[in-house]
Symmetry: C2
Subunit: 594 residues, 2 copies
């Protein structure tokens, strides 16, 4: 359902706004000659590329000749804007514009190139059309020339070229693309970018990649870089580099990540803060950082085999990505607060938002990276469901799917998965294709799923650790049923997270719940819950709570706290990803305890 809405409404919506705001028009000859004004911010080219990437994944998911034609037309337009030497960016180097690479810190030239490379690989993988790939090769050749060992000793202020180059290497086999990615990674952290009030950490340029212990600075920048570093480590067989970036990501998960999987807690610089600084009411948790974290987690899962990274992907999908987009596919959260104190506003549907945070989903932002990023994630969701390793088939995410793939040894296997997950914890599998001989079917057991059970053709199987491992000579028609416990549960934060001390959250399966007050009738900040009584789940989820009407005091600090009139009540909870869909409301995820 979400993918269908994405494939039609969101992609059309993105195209309409990018046309309206001139972001596609920037590629035309008029703008190229300087006879028409270039519009949008310096990174708007990348939004067009991400939209094409989303369209490409979508046409791969479901054939759509009209969309194919649209991609071809956009590709022709983009190719037309490419300079003779391969350089391609609509905001630099043309009549009346700043010189190429004159502002590496903020110009986003290599960043846009990186997104073009990723889009071209997505297009090539999901179609027989190499037109965009050919544009991308010329861009990459130019980058290798300009920034190669004999070229500029510099990096881009916004990482993204790194994963782009490695992906293009994979698609083309061109070694120099991989070498160039390695060079960019080696240069990062040498403070070649100019001094800025946000510090070099903002650009991940403060500490060399191999020496850093944790992700820091601008969250999307840090995560795109990490994704590229994993790609590089895998392709070069550099296990030390792989474990370095895995350790950085692990520490980020342990100390700098919201319950939702969201990353980045500062509005000022859209950045990670110090360890355990995770305010709910000023959470930044940018949509794009969620998507970038999925990119990193998926790469690490494939590279290390560690199932817990698939837990991270699930958490972000259900609590960041699912939250980001409106039911109509045409409105978006840029940032994801975990505590809305004042009523969300009502936004007009035809005005772009200038700010990022605090409001409801908006149709468009001046910096509208979240739309195209969400679209490419949703269109490519199926790629995160399962993987094949030397032992057999692994299922990582639970959703209706028909898997038809080839094991490492060449045998074909088929698996049908049917489930109402995450509304329901039962996941049914049926083997639909199998060739003789044993192989392993591994099913992820989320860390929260203690007490899960599994049966194979009715026989109970062991279900402990981070996955169910079933090894046998599977036959077509074999049935497996995985039952994950979906009772709602209280979750307590690390005591070092000052912002939510003395609070609990409620989770149900992979879904973080919240209390929402549509219209603001219930003062959520007067609420405390009884964490000694388990949440009830008859119909909807509720917890026992107390609302306390606190007296007004002229100064909020005293030798004793205020005492007010208390009312006992059952507090209903809803999935966090459903909030702000029914008009102005207040909301909190973390609930103070009695």
């Amino acid at each position: 359902q979400r993918q269908a809405t994405n494939g039609r409404a969101t992609l059309d919506h993105g195209r309409e706004w990018m046309d309206k705001l001139g972001w596609t028009g920037n590629f035309t000859a008029e703008v190229g000659r300087g006879s028409a004004e270039r519009r949008g911010r310096e990174f708007s080219d990348s939004e067009v590329y991400k939209l094409i990437e989303a369209m490409s994944w979508e046409t791969g998911r479901q054939a759509d000749p009209a969309r194919d034609t649209e991609i071809a037309e956009l590709t022709t337009m983009i190719a037309g804007a490419q300079a003779a030497g391969g350089y391609l960016h609509t905001a630099f180097g043309r009549p009346g514009q700043q010189a190429r690479y004159g502002d590496l810190a903020w110009g986003h030239e290599l960043y846009c190139a990186g997104h073009l490379l990723q889009a071209s690989v997505a297009r090539a993988r999901t179609s027989g059309d190499d037109a965009l790939l050919n544009v991308a090769r010329r861009v990459a050749d130019h980058v290798c020339e300009e920034f190669g060992p004999a070229g500029r000793d510099a990096v881009c202020g916004h990482p993204e070229i790194e994963p782009g180059l490695v992906e293009l290497f994979r698609a083309t086999g061109e070694q120099r693309y991989l070498d160039q990615a390695a060079l960019f990674v080696a240069r990062r952290g040498r403070r070649t970018l100019p001094r800025h009030e946000f510090g070099w950490s903002y650009f991940s340029d403060d500490i060399p990649v191999r020496e850093a212990k944790v992700l820091r600075g601008h969250a999307v920048r840090a995560l795109y870089l990490a994704a590229g570093v994993v790609d590089l480590a895998v392709e070069t067989g550099d296990d030390e580099l792989l474990e370095t970036v895995a350790a950085q990501f692990d520490r980020t998960l342990a100390r700098r990540t919201y319950l939702t999987g969201g990353m980045g807690s500062r509005h000022l610089d859209e950045a990670f803060s110090d360890d355990f600084v995770l305010p709910a009411d000023r959470a930044y948790s940018e949509t794009c950082a969620g998507i970038a974290a999925i990119m990193v987690a998926w790469r690490l899962m494939l590279a290390t085999g560690r199932e817990r990274y698939a837990d991270v992907i699930e958490r972000i999908l259900y609590n960041v990505v699912a939250t980001a987009i409106g039911d109509d596919g045409r409105s978006f959260f840029y940032a994801h607060t975990l505590h809305q104190r004042s009523l969300t506003a009502v936004l007009p549907g035809d005005v772009e938002q200038l700010g990022f945070g605090g409001g409801p989903r908006a149709p468009w932002f001046e910096v509208s990276c979240c739309l195209a990023n969400t679209a490419r994630m949703l269109a490519s969701l199926s790629t995160y469901v399962a993987s094949v390793d030397d032992d057999g088939l692994r299922v990582h995410q639970y959703a209706d799917a028909d898997i038809d793939t080839t094991l490492a040894d060449g045998r074909r296997v088929g698996l049908r998965m049917r489930t109402g997950y995450p509304d329901d914890g039962t996941v049914g599998f049926e083997v639909t294709a199998a060739e003789p001989g044993p192989w392993t079917l591994a099913l992820r057991l989320p860390a929260w799923a203690a007490g899960a059970t599994v049966t194979l053709n009715g026989e109970p199987q062991s279900a402990t650790g981070d996955r169910v491992v079933l090894r046998r000579d599977f036959a077509v028609g074999d049935r497996i049923v995985l039952a994950l416990p979906m009772r709602p549960r209280f979750t307590r934060p690390d005591p070092r997270i000052d912002a939510v001390r003395g609070c609990v959250a409620v989770e149900q399966g992979p879904v973080v719940l919240c209390v929402e007050s549509v219209g603001g009738e219930l003062d959520l900040d007067s609420l405390r819950v009884d964490a000694g009584t388990d949440p009830a789940a008859d119909g909807g989820v509720t917890v026992r709570g107390v609302a306390e009407e606190l007296p007004e005091r002229p100064w909020p600090y005293a030798d004793a706290g205020p005492v007010g009139q208390r009312t006992t009540l059952d507090v209903p909870l809803v999935p966090y990803h459903r909030w702000a869909r029914s008009g102005p409301s207040t909301m909190r995820v973390w609930l103070p305890t009695t």
Copy 2:
């Protein structure tokens, strides 16, 4: 001691840097003609004016002919930069510059003018020198012409002209200055400034002054405006306006102010946040907002007689202003965190800081408003000590002072005050001049000072409420001793302040204490204190506590909290204003309880 350091080191330091960075040089003819480059940000003129204001208060406090000469030279320089019609700003309207008032949102033209007006009044009040006042009158005449009823229907993005105009009205009796201030106040809140991602609230331009319920947006902007509004209400006898702004300030104190009296909790827009959003670890609490809040509190105290506003002044003086400045008078905090998680950095003494927060005191900032603002506050401190009302003499702040003043009815009174406050709670007074007939001596009783005692010539007197009121026919030699209880005490926050739930702070008299770990040996985030055992005060202040070494966990959220090795210890506290004076350290004001 602090005033002496300010009067010499800080004023010299400010002058040196402003010369070095060209901020004074901007007033020279070369820059005026465009033959030399103008340097600094668009508000740098105001720093020169604030420095002159500080110098003026200082020469009033302690005669200094060399400084008088310096002020006269600076005045001549400034007068030379004034345009024929009275306009004065070094960044606009000259060859190669943007047109006058071409950027009201960010240009700071009227803001700078407001500071010039304040400086000129300070100079006129503390000397016989009207040279700067004459420059200011011409500026004000120009502003009244340009922005009068028939002029531009606009306000400045940064309030400050409003209090400046009222002060100039008071000094000159020129009614049109008061009328112009009223016009600016009436125009504010009509959204005449352009749309910005920070919202109109940033400029206090979202809601008309008479309709707003609380201070919001950029803290310094909101507070400077409030100061001007009180001035206006007093001079026009508009009690409704006075009570409106008092209610806004009261609600700000009740819901949007740090324990230190600091205001503003957002780094992004240097702004007030929603009610009760007061994170310790990302406190903004800008030095200038503290000074601006003192300006508002003092005006409200005088206008309403309410002693509690003097409590606010005391709180800010001891916990924001005293914290802001280094012992040498040459380094400053721009922002005031209440929780330093990672070790403060070591800053070079000769480099200006680009960023505002997180670091130790710095010699200079790109935006260096805090230095000159602190300097003018310290130089004028004595003006906040006492006031005269219809009943007699009121003492608001306790410090060594010799008060010699005239009552409302013309009688002269003298009072000598001697104290070691706030290190010691005993304040001794001796009447040094008195004329026949009864009058009232009122001594502020801070809200925290339950149990205070007072004697008059050895006889105990009643000491309840917000002040001690002694009415009699005082004789020279009468002695009063006020004893304020200075035992350290635990303070608990309003439960709606999520950021410090489950924590206590320790205060001693008006001084907020903190735990500091120089070198970071003690992990402050592992610390919990026993709030059931009163703080001890033998020698230094200590509290009973537990340090718990928490285990590493891959994910910081679980059904139960982590349990680690616990060590009982006595935790020493120091005044918050003393922190970060002994090398890199970590610090916290709010301490989680066991």
